[in-house]
Amino acid sequence: MNFHLIDWLILVVYMTGTVYVGLRARKYVESMEGYYVAGRKVKVALGSATLIATEIGVVTFMYFGQLGYLTGFSCFILGVIGFFGYMVIGKSGFIVSGLRRLKVITIPEFYELRYNRSVRWLGGVLLFLGGVLNMGIFLRFDGIFLTESMGLGEQAKAIVMVIMLVIVISYTILGGMFSVIITDFIQFVILAFGMLIATAFILMKVSITSIAHAVVTQYGSSGVDPITNPQFGWVFIFWMLIGSIALSALNQPAVSKSFASESPEVGRKVFLYTGFTLAGRYMIPMLWGVAALAVFGPNMNSLVAMPRLLGSVVPSGMLGLMVAGMLAASMSTYSAYLLAWSTVATRDVIAPLLKSPLSDNQNVAITRVIAAVIGVFMLVFGLFYQLPSTAFQYLALTGAMYAAGAFACVTAGLYWKKANVVGAYSGLALGAIGPTAFLFLSQLKETLPRGLLFLVDVNVSGFLSFVLAAAGMVIGSLATQRKYPAVKLPEPINPDAVAEDSNVGY
């Protein structure tokens, strides 16, 4: 075992402290907006910290580490594309400022304002299913990372997964967005420190020249050129270019940080400052993965290589700090995702089906129950599901399941007057077809006729989902303008009045 007494002490102190702070945050929840979007009072630096913490988890380190191990420097292109995506949003306020101005809590709420309640329900179902499938593998990756880096062995994986889940669920369910934001901030500081420790010790043990040499000798030109690398190519790059903007602006856990900000301008700036860190947060774990290639060679389990390297190069004491940092990263991601998807399920899937509206207390109670159910699903799914592609591609594809349709509906809804309800239905349905087909057909790959094999190419499937969703929105809207004229968006309420609005009656 790599973990010693001092490491365990650091870990226990950190975990206990986080749960205590998260539970204490409960006292700040004063209204439903307080629970879901922290009363919309979050400023730029805090919003950026919590967004970065949300978007970095052990799962992020794992899939980027796996990509680095399998593709060498080629995968660094994703850091450049991700940076580009956040900069587009951060500079222009594309999508996020428009949604924040309308004061929605979830993305499907926008569908009701711009289209109708049924579109909201369909959008909510797709968002929830795609989001939960996306999140389904997180816990498993944490289990692999922790057991490998701490040297606990494969048999401890399920126990580690259960402990992680219980801790995060406890404070997320009780404290809502206030807990998420406060613990996210603490976790942001610790995870940045953990990343610094890991990078420093890896670079002390593995030289840059040996890393570069390993890439060239093991992978040749495909290790440095993303176009010729068989995992990537042009279709993948085009998919990522669209997907990076769509997933950044429409990933409910991330965009809810913009909804929680004190104004649309602050919401935009949160994305801008987060964007500056984006290339680094992609490339740092990728570099760890490439370093694992240099140390272990190319024949190891690609998921296990990077955490095993960390476990072997980081000394006792520092290992406890690093693992605390990695756990911090995961806990902030889980809490934000659990809250986001349970909010969507409550407000956009269950509430529209009921005849009478839910009270605030009922809303929050249902959200808490759903968060717990999602947690159990993650545990079962994480233990038994076999990934059909690399972890990164699986996540990008399940993300595309909801983001492709949402991107067409929200972009057209905000910026195109002719977008109507038929276009919205078509966009949502066609956007989900490609990824859904891939997930099912990839299990039957051997029996598929040759003509349909393109459907099990993850890159084609992901790229097509965005093309089909956009085509569905444009053709559907233009073909039915007379019968279903577009609904105009309501005038946004003065954003400065939010804090007062949500506290009327106190």
Binding site: R26, V29, A45, L46, K103, F185, A192, V504
Partner: protein
């Protein structure tokens, strides 16, 4: 080391340094923001009980549609 390997390594180095520099700045300013958030919210705290509708704006907007 080939030119393209060198390019990726330099890019990775710049991105890593930017990440940690921005993270440090966000930590410093974030502490102030967190204090401000908690002091504002604490004044209106209701011990975790959710007592009124926080969706007045959405409801009001739906009514005016």
């Amino acid at each position: 080391m080939s030119a393209i390997s060198l390019f990726w390594m330099i890019l990775c180095g710049i991105s890593t340094l930017t990440f940690f520099s921005v993270a440090l700045a966000i930590t410093i300013f974030g502490i102030q923001d967190l204090r401000s958030l908690l002091s504002k919210s604490n004044k209106k705290s209701n011990n975790g009980k959710i007592t009124i509708s926080g969706t007045k704006d959405i409801k009001r907007r739906n009514e005016t549609q």
